[in-house]
Symmetry: C2
Subunit: 351 residues, 2 copies
């Protein structure tokens, strides 16, 4: 029994229930009486007690990431924490890894902390998009608190997604590689996530548009995403003749791209003359490498800002106005990416 | 009035007070009566109420970092979160920046969340070491919960520090640069923190041992720590003739070292022939750069492991055993560093 159930039974918004619980005088006596009656009957008490102890005003948001040591994730948490803290919310951070069972148990743990909302960072939480069973735990969580997804798309009530348009961005990047004369473009990923799939579709779109054949062997999924491990895995594949020949790389992450550059430099290849390389996320790795890396900017700061703004608007909508429940936020906000051109690949098209 | 005050007045350990509050039967009736009497008299109630609501078992640890987007900090949080989660503790993360007033207010906020312990990551929290007023807020916090510092050293009751021996490591690295024939070694930092000062002392130790003069102009503190900003700041100093000539760099962070390499490559210098470069932290930046960076490994994983182990032992000491209060943890555990040699500087001494 939670605030959503009470609101449903009473036929009012959760904001109205919140106002009753918080003793706001902006609720009619009739509504107040009905809501309190249902609260008493249904045994919805914990938050009332917590409120009495000043604990209901904890203003905490659960933030779940698979791996905080990853620059994309730590960047996201940095942006989110700053914006939420400014509005009086604090973050409980948890790191789940990539395994479904652990994701589920970490979400449960965060919910047990009486969080006001849950943010899931990274498209791994959206599963592969093939089966709903991989995301049922998210809809389950959304029956308790609003859930916000950063660069993952999951549909369901009370779930709000901010994502960047990976498919279009990848298509544009590959279109430029093709226009520069590359014909054997390696699509390099370490993930089967929603986002990785969107990128693969963009890669396929560009090949199809150019009338180039789709070669299975050029869509390579490797197992590691640390720079030297990527280099070594490519070397091993090359030694065992399992690596196709390629003249360009589109990697789904900057770390993979830098690993591919290390592999190429070890082979004596010149970048971009012999091998053009494009990475993803426009992270600090794209400028620490030599040559510096052309990379697709996945608009992380904007995704986080949109998430924080939406969250704060939604959670405060019950507090300020009489019946001023704002329209529900959009279930999906999509941001266009942009390509940041550096030395590892040159721009050959108008984008 | 908190658990420490109650323990002090009752003349027992905090573990014993904790046992009384948690209804353990491992306390003598006489002690139980005395503690409960003092609790009632002194008005120490919040945790008892919270306990009744199951909120005292939240097992949360406050983790404060200046900047989670920094690889050192996100690496630390990753290690800490994993180890604490495994023992049933969750982390409330907050990011304070480097300003004293904000550090203080973030610590206050975390304490208001009923955390069981506080971890401060990074030597910025230890101030410059010159004045105690910069660290009074930490001793204040330690009167409420145990405080753990990662790579910062602050003295005070209930404060436990894990640090690496930056002074010795820097001395060894500079000794190697001198043995390789370098005479103009630039000490490059962006910080005046405790750790940066230890590194500077190690630098000075090595010069003194070799009978080399200490040149003020070769100890350079710059303002930015992003790669391109470091490169540009060095370029600007060079253009305005404010940069001394140097044949080696010892940087207090890998980002600074990579920025210095970008500056050198832009000048057409060869690394390490014309300029040897040593970084700090052995982060992913040290292997994403080209040439790869010799870097001092600051033992972050070991510092975090020691912190988590000590924290869990301390917090659980009141639960399992009769009068089994373990000896208090060491106020300071110091770890030796090790230098990871790569292409940007060669090892010239036995270390």
């Amino acid at each position: 029994m939670n605030i959503y159930d009470i609101a449903k039974i009473a036929g009012v918004s959760i904001a109205t229930v919140s106002r009753v619980v918080n003793g706001s005088d902006k609720v009619s006596e009739k509504t107040r009486a009905r809501v309190l009656d249902i609260i008493a009957r249904e045994g919805y008490t914990p938050n009332v007690f917590a409120q009495g102890l000043g604990l209901n005003t904890m203003h905490t948001v659960g933030v779940l990431v698979p791996d905080i040591a990853d620059l994309y994730m730590s960047g996201a948490v940095s942006y989110l924490e700053e914006q939420l803290h400014r509005s009086g919310y604090e973050c409980i951070l948890s790191c789940s890894g990539f395994d479904l069972e652990r994701k589920h148990s970490h979400v449960q743990m965060l919910l047990s902390k009486k969080i006001d909302a849950l943010i899931l960072v990274g498209s791994t939480y959206a599963g592969s998009g093939i089966s709903n069973t991989q995301t049922d735990y998210i809809r389950e969580a959304a029956s308790e608190v609003p859930v916000f997804m950063i660069n993952g798309v999951v549909s369901g009530e009370n779930i709000y997604c901010s994502a960047c348009d990976d498919r279009t961005a990848t298509k544009e990047a590959v279109r430029s590689l093709i226009a520069a004369g590359h014909k054997k473009i390696l699509f390099l990923t370490d993930s089967g996530s929603y986002s990785a799939q969107q990128k693969m579709k963009g890669y396929q779109d560009a090949l199809a548009d150019a009338g180039l054949p789709l070669e299975e062997s050029l869509m390579l999924r490797i197992h590691k995403n640390r720079i030297h491990m990527v280099r070594d895995e490519l070397n091993d594949l090359s030694v065992s003749n399992a690596l196709p020949s390629f003249d360009a790389v589109l990697a789904t992450d900057d770390t993979l791209a830098v690993g591919a550059m290390k592999y190429a430099l070890g082979k004596g290849l010149r970048i971009p003359e012999d091998l053009a390389v494009i990475g993803y996320n426009n992270s600090a790795f794209s400028i620490s490498s030599e040559p510096e890396l052309t990379s697709i900017d996945s608009r992380l700061e904007d995704l986080c800002k949109n998430t924080a703004d939406t969250l704060i608007r939604l959670l405060s909508s019950g507090k300020d106005s009489e019946e001023g429940d704002l329209p529900a936020p959009e279930p999906l906000t999509l941001f266009p990416c942009r390509i940041v051109w550096r030395q590892s690949a040159v721009c050959s098209v108008d984008i």
